[in-house]
C-alpha cells in the first residue's frame, strides 16, 4: 500500500553529491557568514580539497533543502542543522554519525561535555557541533546609570528584571525594560536554568517524550511574570521569531535589556558604539533563585549516509578541521559562538582573550558553571517545529491576557501533546 505513493527519487537510498567539490549548506549570514567563508578558504588552501560554502537564508531553509536532498538523493556533504531540528533529521535514518567519519586519533574527549552531550545519541556523536551558543542578557549600561541602577550588578532573576525595568521606565530613560524575540529557545532557557525539564523522557534524550511539562512552578512563575511585564508596559514584544526587531529595539534604546544569543556579541559592541551607549552582558535571568544551566543552542554539521568512500575521507578531514582548536578560536573571536574544544578555551584564556573581551566570556562561563543535569539538554523531539509554534503562539495568548495563565498553559500542553502522540 505504502509503496504506491512513495516512489520518487532516492527511495532506494542511493545518493549522489550535488557537486564534485565538497558542499556545505549553512545559514550563517552577515559577518558570521564571512568568518565561515574565510574558514572554508583556509581549509581549501591547507588541504587542497575544494569546498563550496553555500549560504541559505535560514536554518529552516537548510532543513527543508536537506530533507528534500535526502529524499531525492542529490545531497550536499554537510548541512548545518539547528539543534532544534536535530531529531527530525536523525529520524530520517539517512544521516551518518560523524563519529564514524573522524579518524581514530581524533580526541573526541576534548569536546566540551555539555556541548557534545546534546549531539550524542545512542552513545555516538551524530553530528559535529560547530556553532554553539546560549542565550544571555545584554543591557544598556548607559541607561542603567541614567536610571540610577548599578550597571555592575545587572538583574539576575526575573523579579530583579522587573524591578529594574520599573525603575528604568519610571525614570523615563527608556520606553520599556526588556525585550527578546518570542522564540521557544528562551522558554527552554528558563526551564533549564531552573533545572526543570520541558518534556518528559529527559527532554527526549531518554526515549520518546509524550508530554509537555507545564504543571510546575517554573512555568507558572515564568508566565505570571511575563504577563505582568506586558501588562505593566515593561516588556517590548518584537514579534514571533523577530530576532532583528528585538535587536533593533535594544539598539534604538527602546528597551534597556535584551535577551538573545551569544552570537550577537560582536554586533552588540559595534551597534552600541554607533548608537552612542555602552553595552554589557550578563547571565540569563532565572525564574527563581536556582541557577542550573543553559540549554545548548546553535547548530551542528550533519553528513548524509551513503556517500562514496573516497569522499568520506575528505569529509572527515573537513570535520576535523572545523573542530580543530585553531579554527574554533577564530570562529569564536569572529562571532561570539563559544569554542567547543577545551583546548581552544584553555588557549584563549592563556592568551588573555577573555580578560580583554569580557563580553565574550559570559556565555562560556554560563555554560561551564552549568551543573550536569538532564534539564540542560535541549529538547530533542520530532515535532520540534510544531511544538515551537505552539509554545510561541500560546505564549502570546498568555502574556496578552487573552486567557489565564493556567488555561494558557494547559492549552499549550494539550496542543503539543497532540503532536507528540
Amino acid at each position: 500500500m505504502a509503496g504506491c505513493v512513495g516512489g520518487g527519487g532516492g527511495g532506494g537510498g542511493s545518493v549522489e553529491a550535488v557537486n564534485d567539490e565538497l558542499t556545505l549548506w549553512h545559514a550563517m549570514g552577515g559577518g558570521n557568514g564571512e568568518t565561515l567563508n574565510a574558514l572554508g578558504d583556509q581549509f581549501q588552501e591547507e588541504t587542497g580539497i575544494p569546498i563550496n560554502m553555500e549560504y541559505q537564508d535560514s536554518y529552516e531553509s537548510v532543513l527543508t533543502n536537506f530533507l528534500g536532498a535526502l529524499e531525492s538523493g542529490d545531497v550536499p556533504d554537510f548541512a548545518q542543522i539547528d539543534s532544534l531540528f536535530a531529531k527530525q533529521v536523525l529520524d530520517t535514518g539517512r544521516v551518518e554519525p560523524v563519529e564514524e567519519l573522524l579518524s581514530e586519533e581524533f580526541p573526541v574527549d576534548d569536546f566540551l561535555p555539555n556541548v557534545t552531550s546534546f549531539f550524542t545519541v545512542n552513545d555516538t556523536l551524530q553530528s559535529l557541533p560547530f556553532n554553539n551558543s546560549n542565550a544571555i542578557m545584554y543591557y544598556n549600561r548607559t541607561a542603567f546609570e541614567e536610571a540610577g541602577l548599578d550597571p555592575d550588578s545587572p538583574p539576575e532573576t526575573l523579579a530583579e528584571v522587573r524591578s529594574a525595568s520599573e525603575t528604568l521606565v519610571e525614570s523615563g530613560v527608556v520606553d520599556t525594560g526588556i525585550t527578546w524575540p518570542n522564540h521557544v529557545w528562551f522558554v527552554e532557557h528558563w526551564y533549564s536554568t531552573a533545572g526543570q525539564l520541558l518534556f518528559d523522557a529527559e527532554n527526549g534524550h531518554g526515549g520518546n517524550p509524550s508530554t509537555l511539562l507545564t504543571d510546575n512552578e517554573t512555568a507558572r512563575g515564568l508566565y505570571e511574570w511575563w504577563r505582568g511585564m506586558a501588562d505593566g508596559g515593561l516588556f517590548l514584544n518584537p514579534g514571533i521569531e523577530a530576532w532583528q526587531e528585538a535587536t533593533s529595539a535594544f539598539m534604538q534604546q527602546k528597551a534597556a535589556m535584551l535577551l538573545t544569543s551569544t552570537a550577537f556579541v560582536a554586533g552588540a559592541r559595534s551597534g552600541a558604539e554607533k548608537n552612542g551607549f555602552e553595552v554589557d552582558n550578563a547571565f540569563y535571568p532565572t525564574v527563581g533563585e536556582d541557577r542550573v544551566g543553559p540549554v545548548i543552542g546553535g547548530a551542528s554539521f550533519f553528513v548524509p549516509s551513503g556517500l562514496p568512500d573516497d569522499r568520506r575521507e575528505d569529509i572527515g578531514a573537513f570535520l576535523e578541521f572545523m573542530a580543530s582548536p585553531d579554527v574554533q578560536k577564530q570562529w569564536h573571536k569572529g562571532t561570539g559562538y563559544y569554542p567547543i574544544r577545551q583546548t581552544a578555551v584553555d588557549e584563549l584564556s592563556s592568551e588573555g582573550w577573555f580578560e580583554e573581551n569580557p563580553m565574550f566570556r559570559t556565555a562560556l562561563d554560563q555554560l561551564q558553571a552549568s551543573a550536569d543535569d538532564p534539564a540542560t539538554k535541549r529538547m530533542l523531539v520530532e515535532p520540534a517545529r510544531q511544538s515551537q509554534q505552539y509554545v510561541q503562539n500560546t505564549s502570546v495568548e498568555v502574556f496578552n491576557g487573552d486567557t489565564s495563565v493556567e488555561n494558557g498553559l494547559s492549552k499549550m500542553k494539550s496542543r503539543v501533546e497532540g503532536e507528540l502522540s
Binding site: 550563517m28 549570514g29 552577515g30 537564508d57 531553509s61 528534500g68 531525492s72 552570537a263 554586533g267
Partner: protein, 299 residues
Amino acid sequence: MTLLETIVDAPNRAAEYLRGERTGDRFARLREDGLAVHAALASLVLLLLFPVLVAIVVSTKESGIVTGLADLAPGGNAYDNYYRALVELEFYRYMLNSLVMASVIVVGKLAVSLLAVLAVVYYRVPYKDFVFLFILFTLLLPVPVRFVPLYRLVTGLGWNNTVFAITVPYLASATTVFVLRQHFLSIPPSLVENAKLDGVGPLEFLWRVLIPMSKGILVGVSVIIFVYAWNQYLWPLVIVGDDLQVAQVGLGRLRGQAQAGEVAWALTMTGSVLTLLPPLVLLVLFRKPLLETFSIQRK
C-alpha cells in the same frame, strides 16, 4: 511602440514636457478635470505608493537608524547599500538567475499557450470546451497544494538543480490561455477563412498573422507572466541550489544577514527595491500595451 522606440523617444517627450509649452493649457485642463477629483486621486495614489517610497528612502540610509517618520529623509548611504547588496553579497547573481528563469517562462508560456489557443479557437475538434475548462481548472492547483508529489516527480526526473525544474512546471498557463483566447475571438473569422482558401497552414497563420496582430496583448501578457515568474519563491527555494537561486530567495538571504546581529533594515530595503526594479521597469515601459489590451471582451 517597440521597446526601443519607447526608449529612444523618452528624452523627446521629457523635453517636451519640461519646455512646458502647454503649462497654462495644462492648468486650465486641470481645473476642468476638477481639483477635487485630482486631490482625491492624488491621495489615493499616494496611499498606494507610500510603502514603496519608504522602502526606497530607507535603502539610502545607514543601517538601523530609522526610528520614526522624522527620519524619513533620504540618507547618503545609497551607494554603499546598493554596492554591498549587489556586489559584495552577490545579489546581482540572484537577479540574473531570476531574469533567466522569468524570460524562459515568458517565452515558453507564450509559445505553449499560443499553440493551445490556436487549437482551441481555430480547430474544429470535439470536447473543446472540456479542454479549455481543463486548462482553466489548473488555477485551483497552486504549488503548496501539490508540493510533495511535484518535488518527488521533478527530482525523479533528475531535474533538481536545473533550469528545467524552475521553468517547465510553470509552462501551462490558464490565465494566458484565457486572455489570448478572448483576444483571438475578437479577430474577424474571415481572416482565417481567407488564409484557409489560400492554403496558408495553421502554423504559418499563427506566425505571420495572429502573432503580428496580437503584439500588444502579447506584450501585456508577457509583463504579467514576468511578474508572476519573478515573484516565485517557494519552489525555486527547494528545487535548485545556490548557483541557480532566484532573487526572492536571495532577498531572504539579505534579510538573513540581519539575523546574525546586524540591524540591516537598510540592506533589506535595498534588496526589496532591487527586487522590485525589473518588474517595475517593465510595467512602466509597457503600461500602454498592458492597458490597451486587457479589456475582457464578450466571450
